[in-house]
Assembly symmetry: D2
Homo-oligomer: 339 residues x 4
């Protein structure tokens, strides 16, 4: 049983703690939060866990094997670095850090120490994204042309990060997972509609080295909640709609190709069947905790390791820089290790 220490018991920490206690392979050893109220809530739910207001003390506690960090973004780096230095495996909330340099430092440190560093890109562990990955990897989509996502809703405005760091981060993690191609440039635009708040609306285009294109539309100020992604390929196309209670992933045998027949119109269109595969209903967070434990126990590399977290932060940073110049394209040099 891996003994987990949960840093931060605010919005997300309770979910991590619950998933750990349901995982069957780890237990909640300690929970640390500066707020008394948070500790009281934690005590009620996890009577067997030790509680503390001192996160640093938990980090160095010898009875703790690994630390899960669910604190505000600005503290991710310091806490993760301290934990790694203390020889603890680390799972850190997304985004991994506020700058690529800090994310890179964590990756390097974990590599040097031989510790597991994982980023909580939860969507990667959903049945929907797993199925999309499977379809792409086995070639069902053919050449992937584009990924076009709309992720908008009303609220929750964040204080410390703009909407790109809050919402686009999910799609960037998914893209990092399902695309083999390398992003080479980003152009992004944004607007801060509410005076005094960070940008609440952004659009970003990502150019890939194989000609593919990704586009993300994120917004905290939309009248309704939309979670819809179109993925276009040469053989098939996908609509992934996370707001559907069933049939979240629809695979269309549709497409267009230059016509062979000189007597026909220049393009021919294919309008075949649609297929909505049954998806695993296993909770994503549970799978994620089990992946973390598996890597701790076997020395394996997590699906959403520090390298992927770093690549995502590089894109978040590049996009934010582009928005300051009205879409001026920012080039990227990402090293991709074969996964």
């Amino acid at each position: 049983m891996i003994r987990m220490g949960i840093a931060g018991y605010g919005y997300w920490g309770p979910n991590l703690a619950r998933a750990v206690s349901e995982s069957g392979c780890a237990r909640v050893e300690m929970i640390a939060d500066q707020s008394d109220a948070a500790c009281a809530r934690a005590a009620l739910r996890h009577p067997d866990a030790r509680l503390t207001a001192d996160i640093q003390a938990m980090i160095v506690d010898p009875a703790v094997d690994a630390i899960m960090i669910a604190t505000p973004v600005a503290t991710h780096f310091e806490l993760a670095r301290a934990a790694l230095r203390a020889g603890k495996h680390v799972l850190v909330e997304k985004p991994m850090a506020e700058t690529p340099a800090r994310a890179a430092e964590l990756v390097e440190l974990a590599d040097k120490k031989g510790l597991v560093l994982m980023v909580d890109h939860t969507f990667i562990y959903t049945g929907a994204v797993q199925e999309i990955t499977r379809l792409i990897k086995k070639g069902d989509l053919g050449q992937v042309y584009y990924y076009d996502s709309t992720r908008v809703n009303l609220g929750l405005f964040q204080q410390d990060v703009n909407v790109i760091w809050d919402l686009a981060v999910h799609d960037l993690a998914i893209l990092d997972h399902i695309f083999d191609a390398k992003p080479v440039a980003v152009s992004a635009s944004s607007a801060a509609c509410i005076k005094g708040s960070p940008a609440n609306m952004a659009h970003m285009s990502i150019y890939y080295d194989d000609g593919a294109m990704a586009h993300l539309n994120v917004n905290w100020l939309a009248p309704v909640k939309i979670r819809q992604t179109l993925i276009g390929g040469s053989r098939r196309m996908i609509i992934y709609d996370d707001m559907q209670s069933s049939e979240k992933v629809k695979v269309y045998d549709r497409g267009a190709a230059p016509s062979d027949n000189p007597y026909e119109p220049r393009m021919s269109y294919r309008l075949g069947d649609m297929h909505a595969p049954a998806l695993s209903s296993k909770e994503a967070l549970l799978s994620e905790v089990q992946e973390f434990v598996r890597c701790i126990e076997t020395g394996g590399v997590p699906i959403t390791d520090g390298h992927s977290g770093l690549r995502v932060v590089e894109l978040l940073d590049a996009a934010t820089r582009s928005t300051r110049q009205r879409g001026f394209p920012v080039e990227l040099q990402q090293e991709r290790v074969a996964s």
Copy 2:
């Protein structure tokens, strides 16, 4: 009865001719098309119209008061110029011309000659856009923050223009009509997924001088047809979904504002009623023909006049230039006359 000459009886010309004959205020005097088959079809539907393969001859025919041009984009300028020179009022298909310079020349010529020059931006005459315009103009939305449109489907790939000139043109015409603010810069990205075809997928952001933002997502290679626009304002927000058979326009009394109460969360959210106004079901094309005739008869300025057509072409041109540099922002200097 205004006597119309229809130039081009291919895909759209028949719709114009039918609308003219149903208008009650104009009649189809002549139809010109180089194709014998097109003329034969025209003869069947409009037995009283004179037919010719010679568009130029129709343009100078003294029995024709006005010319409607529904030929390929590349020919719009030459035909419209010839018609204006011949003293004929002109309605031209969208986009008005292939370059801003040519569009500007037409505007100037029409002004000098005192003739009506109108562009067939049909959407402006739909019940949906009329209602949206009414809501914005009377202040129901408050300050308009953004216009965010998705206009994608499978096909029809065009040979002579890219997807921006084919699909984004509709949104640009709507924006020109409903926004009083002036566009100051455009950043756009595009991709040509099918080798040898023009760009079939594009995203463009438009920056306005009052801080508003517009974003258009257009694609000929999407698995399903989507026609959805979100319009965000400080007082209300709209979802305009043209694929709905009823309730195309939904007005949400929703929004966010900085909280007044220091003891509450920083932002407060408003989640009020939704209202879907009944829309006029009058055919847009019919309203458009009647507007054309009204302006010819009264010397009025059409809602979608040459100036609006020119402004739209300027944006199409700027967007296309931006796509060649991966979103590099292209600045705009548009003169807007109070409408």
Copy 3:
């Protein structure tokens, strides 16, 4: 080329005439309608057809091979009988006649004369119903448990028939086509919400001899248009939604079965993939005209022959009788010939 005579050029007659002229295997020889305005419209669309106000004259005209009857329901019987007596093949609008006795008389007459008698149950010729039929016949659904249909909208109130005869007739024709089982009883309820109008709302349950159940919900006074049918089988289930522009037929690999495992819950549920087959987009009416011509030329039996029309009328009649006694079950004795 079969020479058709079209009786009635009001609401539906023009569709029949157009389908005939596009069929490639028949032509509109004559059109008969008592209204001058209808004849004028017919003349414009079918300049080669002979027009007459005298339907009886057309029926006996030697240049006419077959008669298509699109007149009010109350006249179906007289006209169809006259046509059959005159040796003409007959296609008659649904419902075939106002009473089972009259429908039976037509069937008998056609059989005796060796003429084709076909009922215009258009839905049977749609790509959607063809696909559903195919799936059921090849056993993909397993044992069919039920057919549950909702067919409601606002308007059009009929004057001469109630909503059962106007709307449920479509589902009864589909049921007659896709079910091999024999209906044994009907229970129906109805309400006439608008004083002075026929029943505008009805629900009917049909009991089949193999235990299957059908239920139809029809209404002229619903806020929106719904055309949705659920078909449940032991192996798969279908949702047929005719309001969808694509994916009208969805096949679900879902179901429930008593659990084998005594340690598990009593029932086990299967939640597999969903599949939406591509459907033929050929116009149903065109297929229907071609079926009529094929049977005339080969002596074949139409898919929607007089016998099926009679069975449908028997159910309409039984349902209406049941509504007069608040759902009192009316038993049926239908002869089914193997199809």
Copy 4:
């Protein structure tokens, strides 16, 4: 603080217990369940509550003011009677009892003892049903013509009751609440598709004394979950779709009426605006517990009192009897007290 005793801590009991502890006006004094596992779960969540395996002991415990019964249907009567005899107020799960006679006995006993007897018809306390009630009571719908509900999904098959008692009970409770008219007859049909299981599919029509009609379509064996109710009135119509995450209640200004103008078609149709009112998001169960406490403290009559529970059971019983005779109408004599 009212001291509650929770009888049964299986599927629904935990929800009642949680709602009590969040109510602010009552507390969980005792929880009784024969299962050790259930008691262990209860102990974890409600450390301050006393636990027992002996429901009868809890019922007579002097420290308990009121009993909430969330045990299997077959035990409702015995437990509720015992509690009332012991002088305890009672909230009982729906359906209130297995027979009208037993439900009536409970009503009589509570009246005689002057105790609150309430039935857990949770839907009545939802924001959606409250808004629908408000709209009907203030006359916005005009004369209510019909209530037509579809409540189907895959699972959960019950062992002890058929689908009418499990699902239609919700609509019957809503109807009892929103209709002032008196039901006079019921016709229902049902089918048991899975051998050895109770009827999983049923349709029931209810005739009201003012001519209104209700129809319920319930099914445990449908491919998808549908919760859709159409309510038709002379002035407005409602669609209540409980599967929507927002806009659950849509009010349509649509209708039909005999035309006044003799030169127009016989019926005229009204196609006005649609309005989706914002609904209270307060949890229904919480409102329900507070209503129970309010009535205990003030001697008030609960919205969902024993009389309403009895009327619902009478309809459930009548419907089940009708299904045994294929829709044979069963007459009802319900006493309605002005509410």
